[in-house]
Amino acid sequence: MNVRLGVGLVLGILALLALTEEGRAAGPLDNPGFAKVITCSACHGENGNSRTNMMPIIAGLDPAYFKKQIESYATGKRPSPEMEPYAKEIQFLGVDQIAAYFAAQKREPTPIRVTINPALPSTADAIAKGKVASAPCVICHGEKGAGDPARLIPGLAGQAPGYLAQQMLLFKQDTREPDDQLLAAKKAVMRAVPDSQFADLAAYYASLR
């Protein structure tokens, strides 16, 4: 009995030591996703939190939405000379793990306050004008631009403004996923928005928190 207890105690201590050792060694590489996304940070920033105007923030993206985009990029339905090759690299590395990795990252809103549209008035003017123009967007993207993952509708709040403005144009021109029925209503809305309003809408959504 005493021997058993002693052995039990020793095993318990060893297990504790092993745990402590494990705890010390735990680092970013213990998440297998970390090594798979290292290419992405060159453009999309640390953990997908882009700090630039044109590169979208992908931290905290809904995994189903993320996977749909990778599929659309890889097949050319969402044409992008940058993302088509990288989407194929992501598929090689494992899209599920990469989607899960970015979904788990805390989203940090863009620090960019203005778009690079030279015709833009002051940022505050643009944001105010964008808010007025956003009425049709609210129907799907929500009052605060949070989106609806269940319907593959992405959040717009705090997204990089240059990226938002460019996507609005692509939707209006119907060059992004042309045959996608899920996007038909969105494109109808964008066709009614004059190009001159894209920068204001982008400034407004970039400013939302």
Binding site: T39, H44, E46, S50, T52, Q166
Partner: protein
């Protein structure tokens, strides 16, 4: 890649390398360590030493610390600040300043990386030491990111003229001086640019430079012309896109398969296998090889020019526990670009952290995004994606932008800021 001094002393870099090659890293004016004998910084735990803080080296140093802060990182870099080669062609056309390409190394210091502003003078693989003058640094793993150096002797007359004939192929004082020469050239003057045979740093770089200089001359010196003497049979990268862009520049005279073999600075003339060409301003980009330390440390292959490495870990095939990254490498189907050096820096760093912790090395294929500016507002791009099969990097796809556009240039601008942050923040 790093300026050794500010404008006004454009040739310091070369004198420095000359001095370094005979074993004295003193010319940078920072003698703090070069005068130290013996062990410069005794090693207490596990240590990675990185030689060179350009696109590859800075990234590698940063990612080792990110992945395992218990590993000490020492970065050897004579330059006090990072200066980007990508975007430096825009300084020649007056669209950007050197300041816009320059970033401090302070954030890397904040991560606990020790930066020593010295050049490595030798590597001792057997004792796992890097020599710096009279002193040395011990390492567990070494990253060699030396960039490129030039094969002056391949062009007759160039070795004697290497202090006055500009390459401007390492962003820094030479970039400033070449911009000044272009601006001072008389209207009607001839600018000659020579392109070396592959492999060289930044395949589309010379052709982007042609666009930028041609744009500047067309606007400011309409009687001037630009003669391109290309050692290669055609434009090496983004060929069709550059051809289209050049339609806007009738001042370009492009001569393919016209390798420069001799130079006469008194007659202001370069000689190719076929022609003699007079110049007013010359930008001669010499043939290249890996940075001097890689050659001196026997990391180069039989060609004595480039370093062969493992495609997964970037460990040298010649010396164990030494990893070579960036433009100095050969054998992977990747261009010698800043983005590839950044990708190699990450993969090498995470390989090293895995190996030092006794963990399996994950597969981390590189990627390449490369933008070129064709005028003051439009750019083009090429993107390459890769996978690793049977231990070798294989290209999945190469994609080009369909045309030059403002939108691509806007993304180039964001890429610049983002990737510098990925290296230096």
């Amino acid at each position: 890649m790093k300026p050794r001094q500010r404008a006004g002393a454009p040739m310091t870099r070369r004198r420095f390398l000359g001095a370094a090659s005979v074993g004295l890293g003193l010319a940078s004016g920072v003698a703090a360590c070069a005068s130290t004998k013996g062990d410069i910084a005794p090693k207490s735990g596990r240590r990675v030493v990185v030689i060179g803080a350009g696109w590859g080296g800075a990234t590698a140093a940063r990612y080792v610390r990110m992945a395992d802060p218990s590993i000490e990182v020492v970065l050897l870099e004579p330059g006090r600040e990072f200066v980007s080669c990508p975007f430096s062609n825009l300084v020649l056309s007056g669209l950007r300043t050197m300041d816009s390409l320059t970033r401090p190394y302070d954030r890397l210091r904040d991560r606990g990386i020790r930066i020593i502003n010295e050049a490595a003078t030798a590597i001792e693989p057997d004792t796992k030491r890097v020599r710096i003058g009279e002193g040395y640094l011990a390492y567990d793993r070494l990253v060699v990111a030396p960039g490129i150096d030039f094969l002056w002797e391949q062009i007759e007359g160039l070795p004697a003229a290497r202090d006055t004939v500009l390459h401007a192929w390492k962003a820094g004082p030479q970039t400033v001086e070449l911009a000044r020469q272009i601006q001072s050239m008389a209207d009607g003057g001839v600018f000659v640019l020579t392109v070396p045979p592959v492999a060289y740093r930044c395949p589309p770089g010379p052709y982007e430079r042609v666009c930028q200089v041609a744009w500047y001359l067309k606007k400011n010196k309409p009687k001037s012309k630009l003669i391109v003497l290309d050692a290669n049979p055609n434009i090496v990268s983004k060929t069709a896109l550059f051809r289209t862009a050049w339609e806007a520049y009738p001042n370009i005279d492009y001569l393919a398969s016209n390798k420069v073999i001799a130079l006469d600075t008194t007659a202001k003339e370069v000689r190719t296998e076929f022609d003699r060409v007079k110049y007013d301003v010359l930008n001669l980009i010499p043939p290249q090889r890996a940075g001097a330390i890689a050659v001196q440390a026997d990391l180069v292959g039989a060609d004595k020019r480039w370093c062969e490495v493992d495609h997964v870990t970037y460990e040298s095939v010649k010396h164990k526990e030494i990893h070579v990254i960036g433009d100095a490498t050969i054998g992977l189907p990747v261009p010698k670009s800043g983005n590839v050096a950044n990708a190699m820096g990450k993969a090498a760093a995470l390989s090293i952290v895995s190996l030092l912790n006794g963990k399996p090395v994950p597969l981390m294929p590189p990627g390449n995004t490369c933008y070129s500016w064709v005028n003051d507002r439009e750019a083009i791009a090429v993107v390459n994606a890769y996978k690793i099969e049977n231990g070798k990097v294989v290209q999945i796809e190469q994609k080009l932008t369909p045309a030059q556009s403002v939108s691509v240039a806007q993304r180039a601008e964001s890429w610049r800021l983002s990737i510098w942050s990925d290296m230096l923040s």
